[in-house]
Symmetry: C2
Subunit: 441 residues, 2 copies
């Protein structure tokens, strides 16, 4: 019978061998690779990506914004320390990341304001700087904005309530995800890190500790371990695999029965400009740049992001119930989505956008953790997974990289930038108890 | 522009309308339908299923076993109360469910026994009846079993340690999932419940509260609700939809962006018989039926389930790392899986199985909750989801049905059979904190 007369054969590992393979050269994967390599300069750390350059997946499709205004303590910590690090890189190291503290401006109905007021106290106590604007201030400062929708039948149909106050997050703004990805890539390479582009990871290689040459190995009674990855260019081996592949994480991990704990969902950005829109862009009084902050409208999470280089705004929205969980290899922006979902809200509040069509549009995908919208960072069978960034990966990438490096080093706590620390297991599976984020964009 | 000049049109609901639609006529869906209908006899409750009869999906592919031995308090409660209910149905109502208290017998190495010993105290304190068998007892009672693998090279390769003790769960045994499904179906129909077979649910129908006739409705600014299901035979409408569709749950819920919080994984059962195997089956001393209990071998979760009607055993295993998460419409059992993964362990411990091939085999899929292996029961957008049964749905089905009925009635607590109760939100998403189950088969 099968086991009898068999002896252990040496493993037939013909592919290249590394200490650490990081799957994904987006902002999360690059941060992980950078921090692992920083702490272990002698290790062979290699990043694999299906694309041709750094951050060409969902990193490039991001809205490129950051905030430290969250009600979940961990979300706040991860974002706040990340923002500090990016500021350090830009201001002290002189590496431009496009980091611009234009602020976030939530335009709130009285109902929404009251809901958030209670939460704000605790947020403020922890040193998060927020400023309340009265409606009269907003009216004076933002020329041409509609604020009062009493008796307006269209507004009623849109579910749009009158704007009661504004809430500005100060340590918030816009950033260039591409530049952050480039920073991590450059520094990682300087230390001798390798990146293999055009190398799509198809699955993980699971092998038994001692191969016997029996069909179907590894069998259920064999001790097994993830030893590498199968790519379209051949197998690659490593002691540790880090999967930080955003929406591709499940595609990679499902193959061996590891749950990436994320669901993919499309997100779309539309770039819009016109002379009137440029006037709105150049709104004074909110920041030293004299531009309108990243502004969230009081319905359906429709937001406008100032883009000074393009003299206009990027428009997006929080896409909730109704948008399917559906992995798409190449998601496309839908013009009708702008026209029928975003535009009615947008043009009602800001007539500046009336009759203007987007000049550019693109789509990516979120990797959503539906449990608590915090990242999942855990180790299983020799694989470290960093997934479920839920649309705030840009601001949390640095902290996630440091936590992954701490998990790799089997440290209980991760040192975040600026001297703060976090218990690694808080982001894991078994000890997780992070609470629900109430400050959803 | 789009919103202007539009007025609210009456909803165009041409399909049949119900109070409650339950998706899935497996054991979970039928229990939900039965309990909702019991508590609300006047409601129109209808079950939909792709198959031609009750329990023809994964219910029919189950190993058909039950136990109340769990370390997670909630798992224990749900199973224990379910077993009590099935006993009541069989003994008091005279409806045969094939419920047979043959017991579970874990054959444990000294290492495994020590790991479990600490956990057993708390399990016993709560009244779970377990019995420890010494190795000498086991040797005397189970004729022909191999227990000592010291110096055995094959056993070493198999990772098989010597058997140190046996642990028997008393309120455990085998049951016929088909008969339970039939019981719920019959009682549900008696009350006037409807079941539509051959009615595959393709997606959920999401509609805005007030339809405007704009392309792409419901739009992001519209208040929306799940109003029904799209089936291959047309649309059906209901106030409340219950999704209890096992491995199909994600297929149904992904369409609207609700996370079913489960992953599908194949499970396989092999039916084996021979004169020697029948001798093993007729092992005395463990129960009043004088058959070997449902027995778990000390490696890889390989188990043998007594099947008196077939004068043999069903063989299965816990399929962990390496078995992909992969939805399959029609999963097939793999003979090689028996030969190379199960058989070496099986025939090493029980030579009775030597050189015998399975006479029958089948495969289904688990719907696994990788967080804590307890069921997920929650409401989102008018949909009640009961999923993630993780391979112990048979024994928990009754409790799950009662919890779903309580959630439907917006009760804080569910009354389980036998006078016990549970807070409904403990099985939900936001207040969930159930701990990890340590007593995995």
């Amino acid at each position: 019978m099968p086991v009898g007369a068999l002896s252990i054969r040496p493993a037939k590992e013909t592919g290249e061998k590394f200490d650490v393979l990081v799957v994904g050269a987006g902002i999360i994967g690059l941060s992980c690779a950078y921090h692992i390599k920083s702490e272990n300069p002698d290790l062979r750390v290699t990043v694999l990506d299906r694309g041709a350059a750094a951050g060409q997946g969902d990193t490039a499709k991001s809205a490129g914004a950051f905030r430290n205004v969250f009600t979940s303590e961990v979300n706040r910590l991860l974002a706040d320390t990340g923002i500090d690090f990016y500021r350090h890189v830009q201001e002290d190291l002189g590496f431009n990341l496009g980091l611009t503290f234009v602020g976030y401006l939530w335009l709130l109905t009285s109902e929404e304001f009251r809901r958030l007021e209670a939460l704000l106290d605790s947020v403020r106590k922890e040193g998060v700087h927020v400023k309340i604007w009265e409606r009269e201030d907003l009216r004076d400062m933002i020329s041409g904005m509609n604020m009062d929708f009493e008796g307006d039948e269209e507004a009623r149909l849109l579910g749009l309530g009158s704007i009661f106050k504004g809430l500005q997050g100060i340590k918030c703004g816009t950033v260039s995800p591409d530049l952050i990805a480039n920073f991590y890539e450059q520094e990682f390479k300087k230390m001798g890190g390798l990146i293999k582009y055009n190398t799509k990871v198809e699955s993980l290689l699971l092998e038994s500790a001692s191969k016997l040459g029996i069909p179907g190995e590894p069998l259920i009674w064999q001790d097994k371990k993830i030893v590498g990855v199968k790519t379209k260019n051949g197998d690659l081996f490593a002691e540790t695999i880090v999967v930080a592949a955003g929406r591709w994480s499940s595609q990679v991990l499902d193959s061996v029965g590891i749950d990436a704990r994320m669901k993919p969902k499309k997100r779309q950005i539309f770039s819009v400009k016109s002379p009137k829109i440029e006037e709105l862009l150049n709104t004074k009084g909110f920041n030293k740049y004299d531009v309108l902050p990243f502004t969230i409208l009081p319905r359906a999470g429709v937001f406008i992001r100032p883009e000074r280089g393009e003299r206009g705004f990027w428009v997006g929205a929080a896409d909730d119930l109704g948008r399917p969980f559906l992995f798409e290899e190449d998601p496309q922006a839908e013009r009708d989505y702008y026209t029928y979902s975003m535009y009615p809200i947008l043009s009602k509040c800001f007539p500046h956008f009336k009759d203007v069509s987007p000049t550019n549009m693109w789509a990516g995908q979120y990797d959503i953790n539906t449990l608590d919208a915090n990242p999942y960072i855990f180790e299983e069978a020799g694989v470290i997974v960093a997934a479920g960034l839920s649309g705030s990966g840009i601001m949390k990438a640095d902290a996630v990289g440091r936590i992954v490096a701490a998990l790799y080093a089997k440290k209980e706590h991760a040192d975040l930038y600026g001297g703060r620390e976090i218990k690694v297991s808080r982001l894991g599976v078994t000890e997780r108890n992070l609470g629900i984020e109430r400050f959803v964009l």
